[in-house]
């Protein structure tokens, strides 16, 4: 079966965006962001969602567009879906900093 496609926006990125629906075990070939990479999806990933290009330890920075989009809330295996269940936003976190004085 032909490899499915995912797009890397910047060479520094550790996630790619899927442009096809992925099933567990699907082979993925990346485009963009330097040399093409091959990996396999470890779980189902819908169109337009992100796949981890490498193992991302808990607390490590998640990078897309060459910039920080958040940090790993738990360890993320290579080939896994990266979304709100394992990516924590780092900006405008009123819940972490508490209410500021108005």
């Amino acid at each position: 079966m032909a490899a499915k496609r995912a797009l890397i926006m910047h060479p520094k990125d550790n996630v790619a965006t899927t442009v096809e629906e992925l099933q567990p075990g699907d082979q993925v070939k990346t485009a963009g962001g330097g040399e093409a990479r091959s990996l396999s999806a470890v779980e189902a990933i819908p169109f337009g969602f992100k796949i981890a290009l490498e193992e991302i330890p808990q607390g490590a920075t998640i990078v897309k567009y060459g910039e920080t989009i958040g940090k790993a809330g738990r360890p993320i295996p290579k080939g896994a879906l990266v979304h709100i269940h394992n990516l924590e936003g780092t900006r405008a976190r009123g819940d972490l900093e508490g209410r500021e004085k108005r």
Partner: protein
């Protein structure tokens, strides 16, 4: 390159040719219901109990819409004859719109024999003014007369990959030609503000960008909430966006690569041409009214839509006087809502279309619509009510 537009006395050029009847309410609606070629604003933000700053924001929108290049002439009515807030008095609005070189007629129920009298007089005036406006002919003008405004919404990962980059290409091309372009939505540059700040025309502009973001982020934190419970909105998350930073980094692609000339308040007209950032929230309806008030003669909604289902019919124009385009780069959104979509760039993702060629296609679409081809949303008479972007508590 060039488009066909209506030249105005102040040197601007319209892509449409309306008679505007403002502010909102029974008088304006009655006139517009009866007279073709007219436009009014549908909003409940009339200023009562609002602070001076917010009343000034409302006044800026009304004056700015009156001065918009797509408006041939204006009918104003005195909402509260003689007793209104100073910012919103009809004499003030009339003076500032007239300063732009346009014919302005004023209705006053006290002098016209009540609201019925003003409606009758207004209908008669509006018919004559629309007839006069119809005698104007479009002429060939340069792209420096384009003034574009964009918002991205229901964003998903296609927005940052292929949707916003096409807008960015268009913005670069129009700015290079001497035109003007607006982007806004301060919350949605949180995490990407440094991209815009490093392209600021001078240190003051860079500081204004960073200050706008710092102010908005502090407000967000003061809620005690994770911003992710508010923005990205559920449709963004369902479309694959995982954090505000990710959304912002995709969103700033619509700015292209031009220098940011300044930061504008909601509805504020720029002093020069080029790319401007408008400090406002994301409201899908309020933002376009703000762009139109700042002088936009064409506005665009870059739609992700990955988290949308069943939306085969979209709302009509929320910009009041500026033609409104729906753009998308999501293949499913395009299939679902083809009747509404003016421009599609998902081909960059699915067929490997060169992003530059996709940008050129958008440019040609914009020129066609600026020259008189209707945008899909303009084929609807329905327009949604607009909540103006007001910032302060009401009392």
């Amino acid at each position: 390159m060039s488009f066909l537009g209506y030249p105005r006395p102040d040197g601007s050029v319209g892509t449409r040719n309306y008679v505007l009847v403002i502010p909102q309410g029974l008088i304006s609606k009655s006139i517009c219901d009866f007279v073709t070629g007219t436009r009014t604003i549908h909003t409940v933000d009339h200023g009562s109990g609002r602070t001076a700053n917010d009343r000034e924001r409302i006044a800026r929108v009304l004056i700015g819409l009156g001065r918009n290049p797509n408006v041939a002439s204006v009918i104003l009515h005195a909402a509260s004859p003689g007793v209104g807030y100073p910012e919103l008095r009809v004499e003030r609005l009339a003076d500032e719109i007239t300063a732009g070189g346009k014919r302005v007629e004023v209705l006053d129920p006290v002098k016209d024999g009540g609201v019925y009298g003003s409606i009758t007089k207004g209908m008669q005036l509006a018919r004559r003014m629309v007839y006069e406006a119809s005698k104007l002919r479009r002429v060939d003008v340069g792209d420096e007369h384009l003034c574009l405004g964009v918002k991205c919404g229901y964003s998903d990962t296609t927005s940052g990959i292929a949707g916003n980059p096409a807008i960015g290409y268009l913005f670069d091309k129009v700015v290079k030609a001497g035109g003007t372009a607006f982007l806004g939505e301060t919350t949605e540059i949180i995490g990407a503000e440094h991209f815009l700040a490093k392209r600021a025309a001078n240190p003051q502009v860079a500081k204004a960008i960073l200050d706008a973001v710092a102010h908005r982020e502090a407000l967000a934190k003061s809620t005690g909430l994770d911003i992710r419970t508010i923005n990205p909105i559920p449709a963004n998350i369902k479309g694959g966006l995982s954090s505000l930073e990710e959304k912002s980094l995709g969103a700033v692609h619509k700015a292209g690569t031009s220098t940011v000339q300044g930061v504008l308040q909601y509805g504020e007209r720029p002093k020069g041409k080029g790319l401007y950032f408008v400090d406002c929230w994301m409201g899908s309806y309020s933002i376009f009214a703000g762009y139109a008030a700042a002088g936009s003669n064409l506005v665009m909604f870059q739609l992700g839509g990955g988290g949308l289902a069943g939306r085969d019919l979209m709302e009509g124009s929320p910009s009041i006087v500026a033609p409104f385009l729906w753009c998308t780069a999501n293949p499913r959104t395009y299939e679902m809502a083809k009747d509404n979509i003016d421009y599609y760039s998902g081909t960059v993702i699915t067929d490997g279309e060169d992003p530059q060629e996709a940008g050129e296609r958008l440019y040609r679409t914009v020129i066609d619509i600026a020259s008189g081809t209707l945008s899909k949303s303009e084929t609807l008479t329905h327009t949604d009510a607009i909540d103006l972007c007001l910032e302060e508590p009401r009392f």
